[in-house]
């Protein structure tokens, strides 16, 4: 079973929800926010194994006639021919291999280039993209290949390709939002995404104080609120020290109730 935690807006509490929920539900935690993974700060995983993640980049050998077929075929404008030279922009290359396929001279070989790494143990996994690398997709795929019976997948913020990749194949989605105009704006995008991907979902309102425009939207759209995390200084203090919210009894109760609701929804979606 895979439960994905996403939000649209950044900083709403995805990692807070994902880490605490993974402990309460006894699920493995998978951090797909490979540009800035931070779940490890709270879960403090031990004895991590590391693996490098590669992308295949073309290398042009002496047989190259600079015919330009690969330049035209490259969807990502990663290759150019200048005078008698051929140049590759590594940071634009997606490693798709089209250049090698179209080359009439068999002048292209592919070499592995490290773009980041994954670290994992039995209950934890995270990916980390190298600084200056623009493409997190291959790291997310690699970290998602760490199979565990039950997983909580912590998605990156936004609703871009990397989020789609994180959400893909999930059995249930938990959307974390906050009762602000920005939170609502980006939540709508996240809702659109999970609806289009046909993944059952519910919403958690973090930093909940009073009924707001958020409750109004969710009611109008008939979207289930599966939990509310109360706004408090206590939560902020725990977070700032790298502690889990469930270390406080009141928050443990919040997350236990949340876990029950999520389990029920998971069972319903499996049987339904």
């Amino acid at each position: 079973m895979d439960i994905v935690v996403l939000s649209g807006k950044g900083g709403t509490g995805k990692t807070t929800v994902a880490t605490n929920l993974s402990v309460v539900m006894d699920y493995s935690y998978i951090d797909c926010d490979v540009e800035e993974p931070n779940g490890y700060i709270f879960l403090k995983p031990q004895a991590l194994k590391e693996e490098e993640v590669f992308l295949l980049n073309p290398v042009f050998n002496a047989a190259c006639t600079k015919c330009g077929k690969c330049v035209k075929a490259c969807e990502y404008n990663a290759i150019v021919t200048v005078l008698d030279k051929i140049m590759l922009f590594e940071e634009l290359c997606h490693g798709c291999g089209t250049c090698k396929l179209v080359c009439p001279m068999d002048a292209i070989t592919e070499v592995e280039r490290v773009i980041g790494h994954i670290s994992y143990n039995d209950t934890f996994a995270m990916g980390l993209l190298k600084i200056k690398e623009p493409m997190g997709g291959p790291i997310i795929s690699a970290v998602k290949r760490i199979k565990r019976k039950n997983r909580i997948i912590d998605a990156p913020p936004g609703t871009s390709c990397s989020v789609v990749k994180s959400v893909e194949d999930a059995d249930y989605a938990v959307l974390v939002t906050e009762p602000t105009t920005f939170g609502l704006h980006d939540l709508k995008k996240a809702v659109e995404l999970v609806v289009q991907m046909e993944i059952p979902f519910g919403v958690i309102i973090n930093r909940y104080e009073v009924v707001s425009l958020m409750d109004h939207y969710l009611k109008t759209e008939n979207i289930e609120i599966i939990g509310k995390i109360p706004f408090s200084k206590e939560a902020a203090v725990l977070y700032s020290k790298g502690h889990m919210l469930i270390e406080a009894p009141s928050y443990l109760k919040v997350f236990e109730e949340l876990a029950d609701t999520v389990k029920r929804r998971l069972n319903e979606s499996r049987s339904g």
Binding site: Y76, A78, V82, M87, F89, L92
Partner: protein, 112 residues
């Protein structure tokens, strides 16, 4: 002498486009007249500057007139023998005249 300019449209009175990679089209000035070429780099999801640079390179001009170049387009074009000169807020025709009068400066580094 063949001059290529990043252009806002298909007329000599159009302005030189500030954007290089995603300029509307390229104007080609040769033998006292303008012709126009599509910028196939324009609609790229990424690497528009590199795509546009390839369009320019394939035209084999002696001179490129534009406002500024991103780091990748600059790196590519700097490898070629094309002279790159800067023009700001002028029409294609005016840019060519100013070039002929040696009033334009060389673009020596990428804009970022």
């Amino acid at each position: 002498m063949k001059i290529v300019l990043s252009s806002h449209g298909n007329h000599k009175d159009e302005l030189v486009d500030v954007k290089f990679g995603r300029c509307k089209c390229f104007a080609v000035y040769e033998d006292d007249s303008f012709s126009y070429v599509e910028n196939t780099g324009r609609d790229s999801n990424q690497g528009a500057g590199v795509g546009a640079a390839q369009v320019v390179l394939d035209l084999k001009p002696d001179v490129l007139l534009t406002e500024r170049l991103g780091p990748k387009a600059f790196k590519v074009l700097n490898e070629s023998e094309i002279k790159i000169l800067k023009c700001h807020g002028m029409s294609l025709e005016e840019a060519v005249t100013r070039f002929q009068n040696h009033e334009l400066d060389v673009i020596e580094k990428a804009y970022r």
